[in-house]
């Protein structure tokens, strides 16, 4: 079990929630009968969920700071911009 990083071992439920969000997005995107517009919504939903998850996660960990919020915001924005600007 050494392969599982320490932070996942410490907060397994939180990481399971995040993995479930990703899995749900993945399943809807690839297997549900959705059109381009709905696929775009899936990306928005995933990015927003990931961002709010990060705020909760770091708040509970006690290290929530502006720089961390900005970091997650940029990552979420990057996912949305790179995928939706040119592909939908």
């Amino acid at each position: 079990m050494k392969i599982i990083p320490k932070e996942i071992k410490q907060k397994p439920i939180e990481y399971m929630v995040l993995a479930s969000i990703f899995l749900l997005g993945f399943l809807i995107y690839f297997f549900a009968d959705v059109n381009s517009h709905e696929k775009r919504l899936v990306v928005y939903f995933m990015a927003a969920s990931y961002f709010f998850w990060s705020i909760y996660h770091h708040y509970k960990r006690g290290d929530l700071s502006i720089s961390i919020v900005v970091e997650y915001l940029i990552m979420a924005l990057m996912g949305i911009v790179l995928l939706t600007v040119s592909f939908f």
Partner: protein, 302 residues
């Protein structure tokens, strides 16, 4: 050189124990770079229409074969190619190029049924499917078959005939191929199966049309005359904007994911405590987005 690279990729004292590439400023720069790349592509499409485009090897015959294959798979008889319907489909594609729109109904209000009437095809039922920017017929057909409304047209038992327009042109400054399917059943065919000769002709035809769904609606700005040829295609070597965007996007995401792995490895190895986001959640999110990007299908349907 080696020293400079390690500054960007490996967490160390000089970069405050966070790979430089993963810092907020650098990430913002990458997003900015991608947006500039987008703007350049759009600018090229406006200044030099036709330099960028989607080269296609779709032909009307291939679309007909694939359509009938889908019908056979669903236990339906094949559709007969009708020259009038092919003419109306081609007219529709040309009209979209010349009036610079991408929709079932033109900005001036011309409906698909006006094209049927223009070629004097009298129908009892009719329908229309549209597609653009596809490279091959298989992907095009998959796109339609994955959309319930388009699929409903392809495997509709009420249709007997089909016309296909495959037209090259420039839409929004980008060379592309528009594919139009016009489905129909002539009034005569209905009359032939009527047992009573005195039955009055159907005067108000029922129109089966594809629902205008929520797929892509590109912003079209520039129109140039169409170079069209139904039932034949010319293979061209355009630079596809989709390929450029996909390549740039994949490079950016792969770079960040690799650096996140490196950064995570060295942080764990050195046991450094720092105030940053979770690399694992970043990697998970970016991998999913990368996967979406890799499997993003070509083309758009309407």
């Amino acid at each position: 050189m080696k020293h400079n690279l390690s500054y960007y990729f490996i967490p160390q004292e000089k970069n405050n124990y966070r790979a430089e590439i993963l810092k907020n400023g650098f990430l913002m720069m990458l997003v900015g770079f991608y947006l500039i790349n987008q703007s350049v592509i759009k600018l090229i499409g406006t200044i030099k229409p036709g330099v960028l485009g989607y080269s296609s090897e779709i032909t009307a015959q291939k679309v007909l074969d694939q359509t009938n294959l889908q019908r056979l798979n669903n236990g339906l008889p094949p559709l007969k190619l009708n020259s009038l319907l092919s003419e109306s489909a081609t007219k529709k594609a040309k009209d979209m190029f010349s009036h610079n729109y991408w929709a079932h109904t033109s900005p001036s209000g011309t409906t698909p049924w006006d094209f049927f009437k223009a070629v004097d095809y009298r129908y009892s039922v009719a329908g229309e499917n549209l597609a653009r920017d596809f490279y091959d017929t298989e992907s095009l057909m998959n796109g339609w078959m994955n959309s319930p409304t388009h699929k409903a047209n392809i495997i509709n038992s009420k249709y007997q005939e089909i016309g296909i327009g495959v037209v090259n042109g420039t839409l929004g400054g980008i060379k592309t191929t528009l594919v139009v399917q016009h489905f129909g059943t002539p009034l005569v065919a209905i009359a032939n199966i009527q047992p009573k000769p005195k039955t009055p002709p159907i005067e108000a035809p029922a129109e089966i049309k594809t629902e205008i769904d929520k797929t892509l609606t590109p912003n079209n700005q520039v129109t140039t005359p169409v170079n069209s040829k139904i039932l034949s295609e010319q293979k061209s070597d355009y630079i596809s904007p989709l390929t450029i965007n996909k390549t740039v996007g994949i490079i950016i995401f792969s770079l960040i994911i690799i650096v996140l792995f490196i950064d995570g490895y060295f942080t764990l190895k050195n046991g450094v405590n720092r105030l940053t986001g979770s690399n694992i959640s970043h990697i998970g999110f970016l991998l999913i987005i990368l996967l979406f990007m890799l499997y993003q299908r070509q083309g758009a349907i309407f």
